[in-house]
Every structure is written in C-alpha cells, then in structure tokens.
C-alpha cells in the first residue's frame, strides 16, 4: 500500500521516476534540518519522522567529520545490509540544499541507484522553483510546519 506523497509538488515527477527506475523501496527528500518535502514507501508518520531525523543527523555528523579532516564535505554515504542497502546523499537545487535518503533491496543494486540518483538530481534541479525567502524560524512555526507536512504527506 506504499505511495508517493509530496509536500512540494515540484518534487513529485522526479521522485516517481526515480522510484520506478531505481526500484527503491523507501525514499525521503528532506532539507538538512530534516523537514520532509516528499516521500515514497512510508505508511506511518512516526517511521517517516524517525527516518528523516536520522538521515539529517547522519549527514550533519559526516559533515562535521569532513570539516575536521579539512574536506569541504563528503558526498554520498552508502551502507550495505544483508537485505537492504541505504544511499544517503545531498544535492543542491534552486530551492536550496536537499538530502535524499534511499532504501533499496536486493532486486536492484547500489550501482543502479547511483546512476538513477544522478538523473533524479538533474530532474529536481530543473523542476525546483527559485529559493524562497525565509525569515527566522520560530519554534511554534517549525512545529506547525512539521505538522502541516505530515498531514499533507499522510493525507489527514
């Protein structure tokens, strides 16, 4: 019963295509702060929140390690599990920096996921609107935005 749902409509076309081509089981497109813009495969809000929070945290941690090593940043992270693999990578779009977490199974491969991820990023760049002007983030706004995102993603 997994579906693709988006908060920002410009992500939908590229995401649907990426999921089909890469045979991805789960995908989250989020901001570096963990705010979800689009997802595929999640059926429960709590799972999506965990995944996005953890994904953003992993990218932030690896960014810190990169800084300490004198690298500008690390690119893709790939973890191979027994049944699944995860691919976590940033991408720059006119909308700003985004992070994409992809979970895939043995029916595909990291090689294919990488090939189609490159296409996905190109499609996102093309589809993205110009960067929005953002004011300072207040805790109350953040909570409301998060709840609105989840409501939109799970059609409540």
């Amino acid at each position: 019963m997994s579906t693709t749902t988006v908060v920002e409509s410009w992500t939908e076309g590229p995401l649907v295509r990426f999921v089909a081509q890469a045979s991805a089981r789960l995908v989250v497109v989020m901001t570096p702060a963990g705010q979800v813009l689009a997802q595929h495969g999640f059926t429960r809000a709590v799972d999506l929140m965990s995944a996005s929070a953890l994904g953003a945290a992993i990218m932030a941690s690896s960014g810190e390690i990169a800084k300490q090593m004198g690298e500008p940043s690390f690119g893709t992270l790939y973890h191979a599990g027994k049944k699944h693999g995860i691919h976590l990578a940033p991408c720059e779009t006119p909308r700003g920096r985004l992070i994409v977490l992809t979970v895939f199974g043995k029916e595909t491969s990291i090689g294919l996921v990488q090939v189609f991820f490159d296409e996905f990023v190109a499609a996102l760049k093309q589809a993205a609107p110009a960067r929005q002007q953002t004011g300072p983030v207040l805790a109350a706004d953040f909570e409301r935005e998060l709840n609105n995102s989840l409501a939109s993603l799970f059609r409540r």
């Binding site: 019963m1 997994s2 045979s23 089981r25 495969g41 043995k106 029916e107």
Partner: protein, 316 residues
C-alpha cells in the same frame, strides 16, 4: 455485472465489516476490474488492518497492475502477520524470481513447500527455479538437419480462448487472469495447456519444448518450454524472461546502443537465445550446449520469422 459479484456486493453492503470484501475484491480482480478490486480491498483493510488474507489479495491486485514494489510490500505485510501464509510465500517467491533473485525465490518456495508438502505446483516451480537440466535430446547430426528444415506455412489465426480460472497453486495465474487486458496481446489464453497453444513453430525442433513466445508482461503466447522431467515450465520461464527483455531495453537506452536485437546466454546445460519478435513480444530459443552459438542465432532468426508472421496473422 456477474452474479457472483452482485451477490458479494449485496452481502458486503448489508454488513460492511464483513471479511467477504476479500472474496469480492478477488472476483473483481479475476474479471480484470483492477481499479474496483483495489478500492474494495483497501476499504476492507481500512476496517481490518491486521487481515492477512486481505493483504494477500491486495498484493495480487498490485501484481496484476505490474506494481511489483507494492505487491512485495503487501506480501511482506502478510508474512509479518502470518509467517506461513502459503499464498504470500508463493507470491513473494514469484516476485523474487521475476526480479532475478533466484536464491530468495528458492527460499520462499521451499518455505511454501514446507507448509504444504503436497502442493505439486510449488514443487515444480521450485525445481524450475533451481534449474533443471535441459531435456534429453536425439543425437547431434539428425538434430541439426531437423533444425534446418524450412518452417511451415504460418499457422491459421488463433481462435479466442478464454483465460483459465486462476488457481491458488499458481502464483503466475494472477498475472495470467489479466491477459486479455494486456496491450499488444493477441486474444489467446496465457494459462492454456501446451497442447492448446497455437502451433507457431511447427517444423522447428523443440517447437513446443524449447521455443517460447511471450508478451511484454511475461505471459506465454505460443510455443512451450519443458523442464528435465517433461513438465511444462513455460509460464515461470516467461515471467523471468520478460524481466530480461525489459532490462535489455533499459540498458540499450542508457548506453545509447540503439534497439537490442538478440541476447545469448551461454549456460552450463544450454545456450539460450532471446530476440524481440514484434512490439512487446519476445522469442526465446533454447538449444543444447553442443549447438554452436552462431547456429542457435540462425535458428532463433527462423523462429522469429515464424512468430512475426503469426502475430501479423492474428492482427497484432
């Protein structure tokens, strides 16, 4: 509307919380009304979120709609609820097989067989997945002479044969039930017995045991494939071969190689040649290892010609 669907709809309207939504969804699925089947299944699962049979039905609907990721997710849900659900084990075995994951397909089918050792269809499917040797052949020279004999005149247009009802023992059957709705498919049954299939490859050796014509959805159109014990494994093979054809197209597109014209796999017991026959249809020819690849390609070309003529004659 068919009587059974009418009766089930009435029963469900009287008692919306009834579990008979599964029967209704399954009846709609077998009639090819996949959208309606999906709605009924989802509605029922909304009321019964822990109902394994409901997810099993949903998985079959997704499979018919070629939504394989969703089908797998639903079958995995079934197995999370009931680890020994036979339908889900066979369904997921079929999906793994279709995706080329022979090891996981075997594991799932072995598990299914452990649950029901008397299930002959699962036993045969498992044997095919594990790879039976090619059937016994006559000696080389005679075989080669027979293979080079000209193909006969095109077979007459196949008459319409209604699809055989899907059985619980055949994971490929849910896909077969929607054959009449498949694009580019001639009006022949995907679930028909080998002897009932149109004699497209008469005159070529192995016309019903080593030459198979399938459509883009992995459904058998003509010919046949036999396992080592003589049993027909056409449907299982067709499902796997369609995956290869799709992958070949994708590979050629991304590598800018143009349209693919043939794939040859040199395997332990046989050489297998795949070739596109017409839009969406794919031909497979299997020959013993001793047949040179060049000759196998020529035989495949002949069979392809016969397939194309037949498809034109049935208006595809």
């Amino acid at each position: 509307m068919a009587d059974d669907i009418r009766a089930l709809s009435t029963a469900l309207a009287r008692d919306p919380s009834s579990l008979r939504y599964v029967d209704l969804a399954e009846a709609l699925r077998r009639r090819g009304q996949l959208q309606e089947a999906m709605q009924v299944a989802l509605h029922g699962l909304g009321r019964h979120p822990g109902h394994a049979d409901g997810y099993d039905c949903l998985a079959r609907i997704h499979s018919d709609r070629a939504e394989l990721s969703e089908a797998r997710a639903a079958w995995e849900r079934v197995l999370a609820i009931l680890p020994e659900h036979l339908g889900a084990l066979k369904g997921i075995g079929f999906l793994y097989f279709r995706q080329g994951d022979v090891r996981r397909a075997s594991e799932a089918l072995e598990h299914a067989l452990a649950v029901d050792p008397a299930d002959e269809a699962t036993r045969r499917a498992l044997a095919a997945v594990r790879g039976e040797p090619a059937p016994a052949r006559r000696s080389g020279p005679a075989r080669t002479r027979a293979a080079l004999q000209p193909a006969p005149e095109p077979a007459p247009a196949a008459s319409v044969v209604t699809a055989a009802p899907a059985t619980p023992a055949a994971p490929a059957a849910p896909v077969a039930a929607a054959a009449s709705a498949a694009p580019h498919a001639p009006a022949v049954s995907a679930a028909s017995a080998p002897s009932a299939r149109p004699p497209v490859f008469g005159g070529l050796e192995g016309a019903t045991t080593d030459i198979l014509l399938l459509d883009a959805r992995g459904l058998v159109m003509a010919g046949g494939l036999s396992a080592g014990d003589g049993s027909d494994v056409s449907e299982l093979a067709a499902a796997a071969l369609a995956g290869v054809s799709g992958e070949a197209e994708r590979t050629c597109e991304y590598m800018a190689l143009g349209a693919w014209t043939a794939i040859v796999a040199e395997a332990e017991h046989a050489n297998v040649v795949l070739a596109p026959a017409s839009e969406g249809a794919v031909l497979m020819v299997r020959r013993e290892r001793s047949t040179p690849v060049g000759l196998a390609l020529r035989i495949a070309d002949r069979a392809r010609g016969a397939a194309v003529r037949w498809l034109q004659s049935v208006g595809v």
